[in-house]
């Protein structure tokens, strides 16, 4: 590299941008595809902005849909970075320390997706200043939504500033100063738990919706997040391992695998506990669960989804638990995709929609997202993938350089 001598923040930014955008033909195609999806999403959102949310499949009965489902799920993915940070910084695990920056990049991408999902779900996105304390009215501490705004933005700040500082130091070939960033790292560990618990409280605190009004919701959010999040991180790691020269040792996969298995099993136990409660003594409050698992009054659009999700959940857990290949990346990719998809469906669609069905007045409707709604969602997912790529690619270059420097000087 020719830029080793350059110093300062401007150089750091320009180099990072250059590293982020440069790559082979495959990488260029990947970026172009992302841009195409983002462009389609922007087009779809322009329609929604013009005509209102009526272009979505939502209604007064099912008033949150694909957007909020994905928001909920990706809060979990964001929180899951803690499963790398915790062992790396507190248990001083050397292997995970090498990839913790990737976990943080995934968290930032997930958080940006969350904020975008919230924004596109709002009826008046231009009026968002009404929530800013001082010039607007912030209904804190009464509204759990305001808590969520605080913790999400705080977590975004923590997870972008800490890696930024570390990378900035590494870029200049020096080690970061511990006291300058470690307190924030520890803070982010608690913060990660809080973002997901707060998001769970958003639903859990509503007696109007018996399906959500369940003390197990928060803990189960954490368990499923700590399974799905590391699965995403593992997918990213496998992609990096297969497509770059960045060294990722098999040991890291092994450790991630253990984390995933424990979390996934706890998640399944909690799922079983919930299902037992709903169906052993069937009450009025179990109607949502019946709608989800078996259909209600002829409406059963979620039934195939939830059973697919549970199958994938169990399959993914089994694949991780009994790995005969001893961490073959291709095998792990299958397992990770299976578990990730399972939890995505179960915790997105499978959690949000049945909360609204049947309505408080007992009415049952089906919800299916519109094409434009799906386009917007896919666009946001593409933004997330783009952000993660843009963050991780320069980070890997900087880390590689630092490592080369160190081995060179020894």
């Amino acid at each position: 590299m020719t830029t080793t001598s350059r110093k300062g923040f401007a150089a750091f930014i320009s180099d990072c941008t250059r590293w982020a955008l440069s790559g082979g033909v495959g990488y260029k195609i990947y970026l172009a595809a992302l841009f195409a999806l983002i462009g389609a999403g922007i087009y779809a959102y322009s329609q929604q902005f013009r005509y209102g949310l009526r272009i979505t499949g939502m209604s007064d009965i099912v008033s949150w849909g694909l957007y909020i489902s994905n928001f909920t799920f990706f809060v979990g993915v964001a929180a899951a970075a803690v499963m790398l940070i915790l062992p790396a910084y507190i248990l001083k695990d050397k292997d995970l320390h090498k990839v913790v920056i990737i976990g943080e990049g995934v968290a930032v991408g997930a958080l940006i997706m969350c904020l975008l999902f919230i924004t596109v779900d709002m009826g008046g996105p231009l009026k968002v200043w009404h929530m800013i304390p001082g010039i607007g009215l912030f209904n804190w501490p009464s509204s759990i939504l305001t808590w969520d705004v605080l913790v999400l933005n705080g977590y975004l700040a923590l997870n972008s500033l800490v890696p930024l500082y570390i990378l900035y130091c590494n870029y200049h070939g020096r080690n970061p100063v511990g006291w300058k960033y470690k307190p924030f790292v520890f803070l982010s560990i608690f913060w990660a738990v809080s973002i997901h618990m707060t998001t769970a409280f958003l639903y859990q605190g509503l007696p109007a919706r018996p399906f959500w009004n369940n003390p197990l919701l928060g803990p189960r959010f954490l368990a499923s997040a700590f399974a799905a999040g590391p699965a995403v991180i593992m997918m990213v790691l496998i992609v990096i391992k297969e497509s770059t020269h960045y060294p990722i040792e098999i040991n890291i996969f092994n450790k991630l695998k253990k984390i995933i298995v424990v979390a996934a099993i706890i998640n399944l136990v909690m799922l079983f506990s919930e299902v037992f409660k709903e169906f052993y003594t069937f009450t009025h409050h179990s109607l949502s669960a019946q709608y989800l698992f078996f259909g209600l009054e002829g409406h059963d659009s979620l039934v195939p989804w939830i059973w697919t999700a549970i199958s994938l959940n169990i399959l993914g857990t089994m694949l991780f638990a009994f790995d005969p290949t001893k961490c073959n990346p291709k095998y792990l990719m299958v397992a990770a995709i299976s578990l990730f998809t399972g939890i995505w469906i179960e915790k997105g669609f499978g959690l949000i929609i049945p909360g609204f069905v049947p309505s408080p007045l007992g009415e049952v409707v089906d919800y299916s997202p519109s094409i434009l709604e799906i386009m917007i969602t896919v666009g946001i997912l593409a933004v997330g993938a783009f952000v993660v790529t843009m963050l991780i690619k320069p980070a890997l270059v900087i880390e590689m350089r630092l490592r080369e420097q160190k081995t060179g000087s020894q």
Binding site: D60, Y89, F190
Partner: protein
């Protein structure tokens, strides 16, 4: 370092919990706190609803009721100017009505369906034979058409009690201002007092279309 951070984190968590719990205790109106029912029971001072000055003018002709309700006097909707052929004594005078098919031309719209089964009422159980301009009760007391509640209440005394208090019938247009309520005959057809069967005024959209 790490111990300090643990402590800091726990402290933060505890703080959040305290805020949440205190918030829950104050804002959610826990069962122990004053409920709206207590507030209502404690309100014993009558409200001067005449001070809602926009509750005028009264839209219809009214007469002062000959009864009292909990708040004193009140008015009911006048009835006589709603009856198309009032006054009845124009035809029903001291001579016999001699028009051929007179009853058919004048009163055939009346379907008498008042009372259950064999206890159907007949015309003269309410209308006075001697003076058609008034109603009459079983004791022979004459009752003005504007005050038909006095007659209806002879049988329907439970409904009348509710009507006087406000649980049956309804006020005219205003909740405030002078109390004006509908007469029995404002809503019920006295000859067939049960409400008819008909199509609803509108419908609720099937929600999944």
């Amino acid at each position: 370092m790490s111990k300090f951070s643990y402590a800091a984190g726990l402290l933060l968590g505890a703080l959040a919990a305290v805020i949440l719990i205190s918030q829950a205790a104050t804002a959610s109106g826990s069962p122990g706190s004053e409920s709206v029912k207590d507030r209502i029971e404690q309100a014993i001072e009558p409200f001067d609803s005449l001070k809602v000055t926009t509750a005028y003018p009264l839209p219809v002709k009214t007469v002062e009721a000959k009864e009292q309700y909990q708040g004193g006097s009140f008015k009911v909707l006048a009835r006589k100017d709603q009856i198309t052929r009032f006054r009845c004594s124009v035809c029903h005078n001291d001579k016999m009505v001699k028009v051929r098919n007179g009853a058919l031309f004048t009163h055939s719209d009346i379907q008498l369906n008042h009372g259950l089964g064999r206890n159907q009422l007949t015309c003269n159980e309410c209308h006075a034979i001697e003076n058609r301009d008034v109603l009459v009760d079983k004791q022979g007391g004459q009752i003005d058409f504007d005050h038909s509640y006095q007659l209806c209440g002879k049988c329907h005394f439970r409904q009348k009690r509710d009507w006087l208090g406000g649980a049956h019938g309804k006020r005219e247009t205003y909740w405030a201002g002078e109390r004006v309520i509908r007469n029995c005959t404002s809503c019920h057809n006295p000859h067939s007092p049960a409400f008819p069967t008909k199509m609803p005024a509108t419908y609720s959209l099937p929600l999944d279309e």
